[in-house]
């Protein structure tokens, strides 16, 4: 352990390579849960993706990305995803499927991410005027975008000064 912050820790790790040399590496660990959910949600029948713009202190900029949050409860991954999604966007969704755990930035961090695909029935009364339930430190703007125009939209967002999440770009690029 090099340093223990309130939420993050910086550690040094040592391992031996093929030729038995000792290698030193610096890694980041999150206190408590290191599991997050990334919510890939679309409204039906319009097929618009539910994205968020959020101020990110590490970048000192607004970033556009998918709704996401850390798992900090004993709830199932799906319950946690739907609750986080409701808090950040106001929409009430349904689980379509859940990925295996994957690793974000495994080169330096131990953060595990599940991708949760969610559908939102936009004809339901409760999804007509979605109301966010944000925490004090959250400022989140919901953005709806059809996937057919997503890549062009990301370019225009970036040109207007908004940072783009790698995961979102990656999905737009492969659609």
């Amino acid at each position: 352990m090099l340093y223990q912050g309130q939420w993050l820790e910086l550690k040094e790790e040592f391992f031996k390579n093929d030729t038995d040399q000792l290698i030193r590496w610096e890694t980041i660990h999150k206190h408590g849960s290191n599991v997050c959910v990334i919510i890939i949600a679309r409204l039906l029948p319009s097929e618009r993706l539910v994205l968020i713009r959020q101020f990110r202190p590490a970048l000192n900029k607004i970033m556009l990305g998918f709704p996401a949050g850390m798992m900090d409860t004993d709830a199932s991954i799906e319950e946690a995803a739907l609750r986080e999604f409701k808090e950040e966007t106001g929409y009430i969704g349904q689980i379509e499927n859940t990925s295996m755990p994957t690793n974000i930035n495994g080169g330096i961090m131990n953060m595990q991410a599940y991708f949760i695909k969610v559908t939102v029935d936009e004809t339901l009364p409760q999804n007509q005027t979605p109301i966010q339930e944000l925490e004090m430190e959250e400022e989140i703007e919901v953005v709806l975008q059809h996937k057919s125009t997503l890549k062009q939209f990301l370019k225009s967002e970036y040109e207007s000064g908004v940072d783009i999440s790698s995961i979102l770009w990656c999905m737009a690029e492969t659609f």
Copy 2:
């Protein structure tokens, strides 16, 4: 600055929210360059993707992902990407296109990633017996996989104990 490691720094940032409350946030910064290249390469004509398995100290496991590296030179992004790709896989590629900069894990880090699409002419003599040029701390195994079977392959890798990079899963899922 909370702590300055050899490669990583842990910082605290303060910002005011909508209601003028001061919020504290912990963020990670990398010394020197914070720009990385992620190389999405395919062999032609076989259309196989070039992936790597690599031991990741932060996970204490092998992770499967795309070749990638930090930009630590004055070279162009494309030059750096082709050199990193040659070092990690032995293949000599050609640039197909370069993305705008995107942000990996912008919630806590300031790391910027460019996605570089690369093609490899597998009929060229120099690509018949590719030879890696690894650094002391790198142990990298090259894996070739057609995109039509990628998702199934990722599942079998995960079941055999290999971690999967979020970016790679995300691309497999949307193919």
